[in-house]
Symmetry: C2
Subunit: 331 residues, 2 copies
Amino acid sequence: MVKAKAFILHKRFVGEPKASDLKLVEEDLPPLKDGEFLAEAVYLSVDPYMRAYADRLPLGNTFIGIQVALITESKHPKYQVGKHVVGSFGWRTHTISNGVSVAGDVPILILPDLGELPVSLGVGILGMPGNTAYFGFLEICKPKAGETVVVTGAAGAVGSHVGQIAKIKGCKVIGIAGSDEKNKWLKEELNFDHVINYKTQDVEAELKKAAPDGVDCYFDNVGGEISTIILNQMNLFGRVSVCGAISGYNNRNIKAGVVQFPLVFRQLKMEGFMVLRWTDRWMEGILQNLAWIKQGKLKYRETITVGFDKMFNAFVDMLRGVNQGKAVVKI
Amino acid sequence: MVKAKAFILHKRFVGEPKASDLKLVEEDLPPLKDGEFLAEAVYLSVDPYMRAYADRLPLGNTFIGIQVALITESKHPKYQVGKHVVGSFGWRTHTISNGVSVAGDVPILILPDLGELPVSLGVGILGMPGNTAYFGFLEICKPKAGETVVVTGAAGAVGSHVGQIAKIKGCKVIGIAGSDEKNKWLKEELNFDHVINYKTQDVEAELKKAAPDGVDCYFDNVGGEISTIILNQMNLFGRVSVCGAISGYNNRNIKAGVVQFPLVFRQLKMEGFMVLRWTDRWMEGILQNLAWIKQGKLKYRETITVGFDKMFNAFVDMLRGVNQGKAVVKI
């Protein structure tokens, strides 16, 4: 009999999540039926959206999340033992699946052959965060060569990726992140044109210096006051892709300067999205990102925490911005 | 010699404009040159945008605004004596023009024959505010029959017009305005489905009752907290047309609940606009609105103040929301 460990949502998060809000449980999994396979988690993802979506998850449910898992048993012709799958199985070590994802959720994919690249990328730059950057930036911001692009949460999995796509598209890129160490990485390794440390610098003044001709595209991971400051420096007909609002996930009651002023006077277009709207084009994003990695145009960094029992710590560290690039937990 | 009276911007507005911020001056106009005509103001418009745009107007300049004027002298073959023109001449009684509007400004139009309708409509429902409603709502919200539409500033020139277009398009319309008298007009004469008085009612609770299935389109005239409340009740893929932010024109430092939460989770599209982006389709809007008036589908109300010396009072009353429908000053 296979024993699965899982974290369930035990109490509603209030402010920053507490370890006691989740509970580690053990389950005995039943034997496989025809059409099912057993997947053993190898890498689990922790992402900002989990904090926001947890508010909708019924108490007692397995906490949400995507993982790369190895198929260790199978009674499904397509999902063969030894293959890796990427699935929205939640925070659990072992999962029985029939390959069908929950309606409206990320599809359960057999990971394509990544060659020498680590399979962990299946929950990172070659998975949901990678597609979030690819579709969310290109489809909504529609960047043109020569334009100026600002990215917040710039050292995160999605932000660092968006900035590099913007460079690939010939844009000038300004990244805003929360430490000098992150910014050094963005500038020196990822070739961002300018970086701003929002914790130690005056974003309004620094952005004026970095973008004296204004901002054309803004990829918004944070929401709140920093976003309003950026909107107020945008050019006529600028485009804003709203990916997240991490500045307020722990406190939805925050207020910020009113966005309608710059929206009207600069005639901005601002659109929020969830990457699942592009599930029908899912492989397009993964394959393009893979091609860019192989061409040396797209770099990534992972912050890896080891041990399933460390899931919560990795999650809270990510919310606090401790990670650079993608935060993952290795079993 | 023709003497023109004009209001010039004397001091920067701080908070609500004061009468002493403007100065009434007299000018002697020179004789007409070839290609010029003299236009005598008949109706002058006061609009919310004036408060916002005044911040960019150099001190000493004639205060901004559109008027319907009668051509009383002409040395221009196209602009004949006895015709009415609509022009962005500012707050002045007499203007010498060559028919060319300032780049990027509203075109100077010879008013088409309105039959029995008053020429004042040239600065209202058949002018800039009318086109603001027509293009700003239809092009950005793209309403579909059966959808639920919310309009703020609903009893103003633009808001009352947008609500009626939404009804013409088969939508359910909820208007939010600041007095029961206004709301009575919207409901009983303009056939809005629901009305909310934001000064005396709980907008969040009332909107839940009026739109139990959520809001699909929002035409935003006010910005600020009320807009955030509405965004939080929108449906997936809702559209928001941002026309103005009158709630904050007197105090740009107001803060409101963060819009990025609903934008992301409901995947909303929010776009600000200025009507001048549609100058190439200007007559389309005017003629459609005229047709709807003649068909009895589109009603209007004007709040008319008499006397050029009362311009400032009409302006501040409009900012305070005293008017119903279009606020104009009759000479």
